[in-house]
């Protein structure tokens, strides 16, 4: 029997509690009874516990129970670019350690690349108990096909219980393919992870609707339980110099390493001194800065702070700064330790992209600008005076 949901009309009083609880707007009241629009219903079950009259019946088909006990260990896919392990990998090792401890299993790092043998030490110092290393010239830079094939083979052979990966350009492209190939569940862009120790389930919490709602997602009957995890949310694993990991080196035949696409060139845009996703501090400019030339005062402050430069959509659309700097719904989602918004009014599309920053500073001449509603510290005033004054003060404090 397929899964279904049903309103028990004899019990329903038309109280509307379920209407309010439905995150998908799928329930309305007609003739004093709740009606579910199956076109919108996601069968998520959010309405079931709120009904005081037990009038909603959700039948979830009990999938044939698979033997999940053969899956163990927490894996972290460690992303490298030009042989440099990306910091997100250390964040995942930090979080992965906690999960592995709760599950009573090993924390394993997986790294693909070329001439990456020297990286073993970094990964063991960050707490990996086991390291799977696949070294081949074809894996030097990320390509969808060989990376997918290798990761699929590894997972099939060693059967991890949990597989974590950064929610980066590479990570999202890679594990989306892996999950389909191995018939696993994948949850995108998680900001919270925990373990249900009794059921050995990974509780994956992530924002949806641009952070307006949060959802906790599980993968009950498929393994591994896969997540991509947002940058800068988890704490980096501490370095323990003495820690030694078991190393497993794997080789794969040439046909598995073949790529249908060819990487012709890797272009780094010089302007991007610090990349937004990795930045601890971001200084952003909005329409209030008045013109492209005035990004210089934003950049000066960013330089002193070692920060990345962000921008609102308005400035990007006006051609003041390249799209790669755009923060917000159609740009990047960031969560640095400090976000300084200069001359940004704070349209919802922008707030979506930065409201999970730990500390937000807003500088705007309009006291009613929506950005102040999310700002930890707000300053109403002329950014052309305030930003340079801040640059000067920070220089003093940082002795630059």
């Amino acid at each position: 029997m397929a899964s279904s949901i049903q309103i028990l009309l004899d019990k329903c009083t038309g109280c509307t509690l379920c209407v309010k609880a439905c995150p998908f707007g799928a329930i309305h009241i007609a003739n004093k009874k709740a009606v579910i629009d199956m076109g919108k219903c996601n069968l998520c079950g959010a309405c079931v516990p709120v009904c005081k009259f037990k009038a909603i019946k959700l039948n979830k088909e009990a999938a044939a129970k698979r033997d999940l006990s053969i899956y163990k260990d927490v894996w972290v896919f460690c992303e490298q670019k030009k042989g440099v392990i990306q910091t997100i990998s250390f964040e995942l090792l930090g979080e992965g350690k906690k999960l592995a401890k709760k599950l009573g299993v090993k924390l394993c790092a997986v790294i693909l690349g070329h001439e990456i043998e020297p990286k073993i030490e970094d990964l063991s110092h960050r707490g990996a108990d086991k390291i799977y290393i696949i070294d081949a010239p074809e894996l030097k830079s990320y390509q969808d096909d060989p990376y997918t094939n290798v990761l699929v083979e590894l997972v099939k052979e060693y059967k991890p219980e949990v597989l974590l990966c950064g929610a980066t350009t590479i990570g999202r492209s890679l594990v989306s393919r892996v999950a389909v190939k191995i018939d696993a569940g994948l949850t995108a862009d998680c900001t919270g992870l925990d373990i249900d120790e009794k059921e050995r389930l990974l509780l994956q919490t992530r924002p949806a609707f641009g952070g307006n709602i949060m959802a906790t997602i599980i993968t009950p009957n498929h393994r591994p339980q896969m997540s991509t995890v947002r940058h800068k949310v988890m704490k980096e694993a501490e370095i323990h110099k003495g820690h030694k990991a078991e190393v497993i080196r794997k080789k794969y035949p040439a046909d598995l390493l073949k790529s249908r696409t060819t990487l012709l060139d890797i272009v780094e845009e010089i302007e991007e001194t610090v990349n937004l996703a990795e930045a601890d501090i971001i200084v952003s400019g909005g329409r209030g800065i008045g013109g492209p030339e005035n990004f210089s005062i934003i950049k000066e402050l960013a330089k002193v702070l070692g920060a990345a430069v962000g921008a609102s959509r308005a400035t990007v659309d006006a051609g003041w700064i390249p799209y790669s700097h755009q923060v917000g719904q159609t740009g990047k989602t960031v969560c640095p330790k400090l976000y300084i918004a200069c001359g940004i009014s704070g349209q919802i599309q922008h707030l979506i992209g930065m409201q999970s920053s730990k500390v937000i500073v807003a500088i705007n001449k309009d006291p009613d600008a929506p950005i102040f509603k999310v700002a930890t510290y707000g300053i109403v005033g002329d950014l052309f005076e305030i930003v340079p004054a801040l640059t000067k003060e920070f220089k003093k404090v940082l002795k630059k």
Binding site: M214, I217, E269, K358
Partner: protein, 260 residues
């Protein structure tokens, strides 16, 4: 060239408001729109048709009202529109959604290029595009910011990365997910709007696309949503007042621990 564009109808995020009492999403009166990233995919599809000739087929999986999104796509230059709709799709996660769309694409048959927006603005997963290419066993390039050229059955594209971009050559058929930088979508022409009005939307059910029932909807979805909640809204904090140099000093003092 046969071009397929996959789109999703989403609530217009600018309209999304939270009920202050119940802390849930207010959906009443929220307008549905084409996912913003899919607008760039539609535009790129139409541009490819203009450059290389051929046909653009737009496809969506959704409730009956998603027909409106398809009509809008037709007004923007797509030639054919397919709505894949069935109650059996309810509860689909990205695995089941990409399976369903790939089954529909198999029924369409001939294609050289599949275009998707990089992600949808409601779910933000970026998983469906790569899922479709995997189900179809074709190559993909994600986060494409430029389709430089297509010749000799190969496409040369630029793929946005955190540091800049990669230049990638891909054999066709191939799936591309696109970012905003790729183009500036046109507004529908009067002729386009007339065409959309009379456009015939093809409707396919689960049976039509010969999909395996066990791979559809909730049953075909490995993941389950178990809890939905509203994050405590961020509260505005302190307003710093005073003359510029005092305010600057005060703020730097407050932020000292973060920046050092």
């Amino acid at each position: 060239m046969n071009i397929i564009v996959c789109i999703k109808q989403v609530p217009n995020t600018t309209d999304v408001k939270i009920d202050p009492v119940t802390n849930t999403l207010i959906r009443d009166g929220v307008e549905s729109v084409i996912n913003p990233f899919d607008c760039y995919a539609i535009e790129e599809g139409v541009r490819l048709k203009e450059r290389f000739g051929g046909k653009v087929t737009v496809v969506t999986m959704g409730p009956p009202q998603a027909e409106n999104a398809l009509k809008e796509a037709v007004s923007l230059g797509c030639d054919e529109a397919i709505l894949v709709s069935d109650r059996k799709f309810a509860g689909s996660d990205t695995w089941a959604t990409s399976y369903t769309l790939s089954s529909a694409i198999k029924k369409i048959g001939l294609f050289d290029v599949i275009l998707c927006g990089k992600q949808a603005s409601d779910g933000d997963t970026a998983q469906v595009g790569p899922g479709i290419s995997t189900h179809l066993d074709i190559p993909q390039v994600t986060y494409v910011k430029k389709i430089e050229d297509i010749s000799g059955n190969k496409a040369k594209v630029e793929r946005m990365t955190e540091e800049g971009y990669d230049v990638v050559e891909a054999p066709l058929p191939c799936l591309f997910t696109v970012v905003k930088e790729i183009n500036t979508p046109r507004i529908p022409s009067l002729k386009g709007m007339m065409k959309a009005k009379s456009a015939k939307i093809v409707k396919w059910t689960a049976e039509d696309i010969k999909a395996e029932p066990k791979s559809l909807g909730l049953d075909g979805s490995p993941t389950r949503v178990v809890k939905i909640f509203t994050p405590t809204p961020r509260k505005g904090g302190e307003m710093l007042k005073g003359d510029t140099s005092d305010v600057a000093k005060e703020l730097v003092e407050l932020l000292k621990d973060i920046v050092i």
